[in-house]
């Protein structure tokens, strides 16, 4: 209870946990989609407190973790070019490519800059018309509106030296893929609150129906997650499978329409490979032909590349819930946040890093270093 007692809402969380335990007449297996939720669950020890009632499988909702190795390698190639200023969210700098990461490219003289917003990358391009400025456009639906706007503005303002390396993914096809896997154990989903803040939840209604699986749109505070779990368990116990919204304060059924519209204007659906998982049909976004001038892959003629993951990294099994990070032979020894074998150990939202920081926290009694998230 150490972790929970330090949590400011412990007075409410504890009865909620008891209520979930009383409601569950059998153990249920839930998946939280979002890496931010994984971070909260592991950090607060919610999964351990609910042992016997709920098993949490940590989902693939960490964009840093699922950006395919091929796209990381393309980023590394672009960042090493002397004519390029490569801009990225800070999370991506330490993600291992085939033989190095962006931080190492920067140490060797590559012009790699961390930006807070994609509009900052566009501003760098406007200030440096003599250079090519590339932005690494990764993320889920939460981030897509920001990246779409940067491209839209580049066209509107006429900034020809700006382009984006796109590696966007979307949640609903991943939920379908998980439910269709022959060895799937997930019985209900906690959907990612901020993805739904943009997209709403209409896309999830046919998924819940088709796969007969409860989906609860859930926020990120420990109390949000516990309430989301309770709502999911209540559905499972009563044989219902609908979409419910726990995160009422920020999510509406239709999402944020202006953001959805801009994403649809700039991007179109495409098959996309997920690191550690493989290709999921129509799960990614790419620029529409009208914005081809801002596509870094076309501009620099990167083409298709094929590379292989480190055989020591078991990210795929972790992402599908078959392996808990501490059970990986490389965990905490040959794979640490300082020297990661795979992306799950890099981001604070990656399941491996979350477990690693928890283990360190328990050893030291000091707060775990949460790491930077953009």
């Amino acid at each position: 209870m150490k972790y929970l007692s330090e949590y400011r809402d412990a007075a409410i969380a504890r009865p909620l946990i008891e209520r979930i335990k009383r409601t569950a007449t059998r153990p249920w297996t839930l998946m939280e989609v979002c890496g931010g939720q994984t971070h909260t669950i592991v950090r607060q020890g919610l999964d351990e407190l609910l042992e016997g009632a709920i098993e949490m499988i940590h989902g693939p909702g960490c964009p840093v973790c699922v950006t395919p190795l091929e796209q990381i390698d393309k980023a590394l190639m672009l960042a090493a070019r002397p004519d390029v200023i490569f801009t990225s969210f800070g999370d991506m700098l330490r993600v291992p490519g085939s033989d190095c990461d962006l931080q190492q490219v920067r140490a060797r003289g590559g012009n790699v800059r961390v930006v807070y917003s994609p509009l900052d990358a566009l501003e760098i391009a406007r200030r440096h018309p003599e250079r090519e400025v590339v932005f690494f456009a990764v993320g889920f639906e939460t981030t897509a509106p920001a990246n779409a706007m940067a491209v839209w503005r580049a066209r509107e303002l006429g900034v020809p030296n700006f382009s984006v390396l796109v590696s966007h993914v979307t949640v609903p096809p991943a939920i379908s893929a998980i439910m269709q896997a022959p060895d799937n154990r997930v019985q209900a989903f906690l959907a990612a609150g901020h993805v739904c803040a943009v997209m709403g939840w209409t896309e999830y209604e046919p998924l819940a129906m088709r796969h007969r699986v409860p989906i609860v749109v859930t926020g990120f505070e420990p109390l949000d997650i516990l309430e989301g779990m309770l709502m999911a368990v209540e559905q499972l116990e009563t044989g219902r499978h609908t979409v419910e919204n726990q995160y009422v304060r920020s999510v509406r059924r239709e999402g944020t329409p202006a953001a959805r519209t801009r994403v649809e204007e700039v991007f179109e659906l495409v098959d996309r490979k997920w690191r550690g998982i493989g290709e999921i049909p129509m799960s990614g976004l790419r620029l529409r032909p009208a914005f081809a001038a801002f596509d870094a892959e076309l501009k620099f003629g990167l083409g298709d590349i094929h590379v292989n993951e480190s055989p020591e990294c078991h990210a795929g099994e972790v992402l599908t819930g078959k392996l808990k990070p501490p059970r990986c032979p490389a965990f905490g020894t040959r794979c640490t946040p300082e020297h990661p074998l795979g992306a799950l150990m890099v981001s604070a939202e990656g399941a491996c890093a979350a477990y690693y920081h928890l283990a360190k926290y328990r050893e030291s009694g000091e707060p775990a270093a949460a790491g930077a998230v953009s």
Binding site: D9, A11, F89, T143, A197, F220, T256, S374
Partner: protein, 107 residues
């Protein structure tokens, strides 16, 4: 990475056709694009901000209501236990109300 931080709009302006503004995050102020919420957002409103963009409004009334439902549920569940920790609960409930009223925050 889908971290969204709630903040209060303290300035609204137009940057060559793009709705921008300044959002206050508990004392830290940042430039934010408000294009996606411009039809609704007014000075003083709370928004969820992600990578420099407001992606949704925060409904303060709903935030408060949800919290009260949770608190009610807890009180019904464990009145005795809450009494036992009344002092600590008083302190933590105060801060929790602030947090939930302004939306979600990853610890």
């Amino acid at each position: 990475m889908c971290l969204g931080i709630p903040g209060r709009i303290v300035e609204l302006r137009d940057d060559t056709g793009l709705a921008m503004g300044v959002v206050d995050f508990g004392g830290v102020r940042r430039e934010v694009c408000l294009a996606y919420v411009q039809d609704e957002a007014r000075l003083g409103d709370y928004v969820i901000v992600h990578v420099g963009f407001a992606i949704s409004m925060v409904d303060e009334a709903e935030a408060h209501r949800t919290f009260e439902v949770l608190r009610e549920m807890s009180q019904l569940d464990e009145l005795g236990w809450l009494d036992e920790v009344a002092e600590a609960a008083g302190a933590s409930l105060g801060s929790a109300t602030t947090v939930t009223q302004t939306g979600s925050r990853i610890p």
